[in-house]
């Protein structure tokens, strides 16, 4: 064996390792995966799907009641798209654990928070794409921003914040779940059920009376109400307050799940 063979076998160990470099490398990995797996296509398809399924059959019915349905539907289209994009975070977290790369990362000189932060960063990218496409489709069906500059900025900031919080929650669920398949049910099903039973697609009056308290107060309805008020430029603590509390609650739950998930991942090693 020649000396050169041994020379190429080992590389150089840098004296210092930049956490930022690690974060950007892992984020790049996440983005590459999102592109390669075609996940970003769902960010385009899901708002389109919602618009076609709800706007086309219902807009005449709603307009007869004096409701501009494109304007009414915009928050839930954005929310569902954002929720869908965030939900894929669960799948990615769970896949990382399943394939053992998480274990490998834990043997590297890397801060424990970095893999999770990188998944978050990847999600922010995916969420941004989702929000852009949802907005474009809403514009096509007739939605127009009416909240002024700050109202619109706040509307998008809230949508993104919700997306990040749901990502965190989904990441925690993904780490706690036993398999990637289980995560899709754990994250997807509540989103669909809550979305349908919300004031996002229809007004509260169209629900049976017995379910109205649930429909009115459940988080998706509250989030849709808050976004609608920002979009219409009539936001107040009355419309925004419940959303703020829901966000804080979900953030706490997400952090708890994430902590438990990391602990579970550590214990899983044999």
């Amino acid at each position: 064996m020649s000396a050169a063979d041994t020379t190429t076998l080992l590389g150089r160990s840098p004296t210092s390792i930049s956490s930022w470099g690690q974060l950007s490398a892992l984020t790049r990995r996440g983005v590459l995966n999102v592109i390669k797996s075609g996940e970003f296509i769902f960010s385009v398809v899901s708002p389109l799907f919602l618009a076609v399924c709800f706007y086309l059959p219902l807009h005449r019915v709603m307009e007869r009641q004096g409701i501009d349905y494109a304007q009414f539907l915009m928050p839930i289209i954005v929310l569902q798209s954002v929720g869908f994009a965030a939900g894929t975070s669960a799948m990615r977290a769970s896949m990382d654990l399943g394939t053992g790369i998480d274990q490998r990362l834990r043997v590297l000189p890397i801060n424990r928070a970095i893999p999770t932060l990188a998944r978050m960063a990847t999600n922010v990218g995916l969420l941004t794409v989702s929000i852009i496409f949802a907005s474009l489709i809403c514009l096509v069906i007739g939605w127009r921003p009416q909240g002024g500059l700050w109202g619109t900025i706040s509307l998008y900031a809230l949508a993104l914040a919700i997306g990040v919080i749901v990502s965190l929650l989904a990441d925690g669920i993904g780490m706690m779940a036993t398999s990637p398949q289980a995560t899709s049910q754990l994250t997807g099903l509540p989103m669909i059920i809550l979305g349908m039973c919300s004031t996002g697609f229809s007004t509260i009056e169209r629900f049976p009376e017995w379910i109205r308290p649930f429909v009115r107060n459940q988080p998706i309805s509250q989030l849709a109400t808050a976004m609608r008020s920002l979009d219409e430029g009539n936001a107040s603590w009355y419309t925004i307050g419940p959303t703020v509390w829901w966000c804080l609650g979900l953030l706490a739950l997400g952090s708890l799940l994430l902590t438990l998930g990391i602990r579970k991942a550590n214990k899983a090693t044999r």
Binding site: S13, V107, L108
Partner: protein, 476 residues
Amino acid sequence: MPEAAGLTPDPADTSAFPGDASADGPHSSMNRVARDGDDDLRARGYAPSTTPNLRARRQPSMSPDPVTTTSRGPTHSRRTVPEEARDTSGAHESGGHNGFSGYSSGGQYGSGYDDDQETLRIPITGPAPRRLSGAVAAAPANPARTVHAAATHTPATPARSAIAIEAVNLHKRFKDTLAVDDVTFSVPAGSIVALLGPNGAGKTTTVNMLCTLLKPDGGTALIHGHDVAEEAPAVRRMISLTGQFAALDEGLTGRENLILFGRLLGLRKDEAKSRGADLLEHFGLVEAADKRVREYSGGMRRRIDIACGLVTSPKVVFLDEPTTGLDPRSRQDVWALVEQLKDAGVTTLLTTQYLEEADMLSDNIVVIDRGRVIAEGTSDELKAATGASYCDVTPEHAADLPRLLAILADLLPPGHRQTGLTVVVPAPDGADTLVEVVRRTSESGLRLSDITMRRPSLDEVFLRLTDPDAAGDSDS
């Protein structure tokens, strides 16, 4: 590279294993003559030209200080190369080897192994772990007890920097399961140690504790002097782990994975790219570089997995069952890599269930069973410790077998079970047993087709060490 220097004539060499000529026991007298001839040449400082690479491989590792044990004089490690592999090494080199491009001699290893092999003797390096050699010389009659002496190990004090891995009384429990009870061993820097044990013995848990993945419930472990529990970040900078299953991003290509790990280990982007390209070439993966890892074969997957751990320069490499599930060629590739790592001065700890792998690759073998170290030493020491030689006696005619068994009955262990035509007679008295067998068969006019002395195979050693009943037998 001064090949012959690796085999500097050593007056002690020829006497280190006085019983070898008979104890190694080839199964034909012709083989024995040929091999003894080689030994003779070697003792005089000549290296047969058929095994240059192996001999060269041993040389750089002869640091920092050869061990002297009180029981044997200069300690020797015996390295074995299957004869069939030696004969065909040239063919491997010239053939289209698909494995590591930098290692043309990978084909030197045969996948099979028995005692009918050439033997090399090379001084081993580094401080002596407390292990079998002394006990072996002192009390060969009671091997089962001597091997347990390994558990009383205390941290080595001299030449501490030369110790790469030091595990002392490691203990780990998972709820109701005692995964690791008490594991103690040390590994000199630049050497290869094999953790050998059956499934569930605690090998992977031990590795996971050494790699900072698990915190020990008791005991300590140091990697180049850094405590795995207290100084985990420092330890992580020095190690690389390849687990039983590829731990890569399967959605990314081999190249992308290498760049990813390069960046995670602190290389600049351009540096990570060029390092990735180097490794792809070194590991023979250039053609598959831009394919997703999930499309890789088992062998390629293992190679890219190991390569990802070598983007920088780890001091200690952990390979957890690196050849499990691989085909013979891929297995040879991994073996070749382990030898390359040794050449590069990297300490390697591998876990394995394959005895031949432990025997062939490692400088030292630590046998773990039920969470405890039950034996430690070179394969020769283990063989010597767990039993004397065997005498294989084969009658010329199968019909003579019952008569042969009858005349040798008192030499056979109680409950002897005969399989095949060859009668395996324990030979506690070495060649005297052989003489006795020949005397008895001659007197009764029984013709033999073959009679050979051999040392126990590592399989026999392993089964004996990990099987309490067998250990009990040997005690009695």
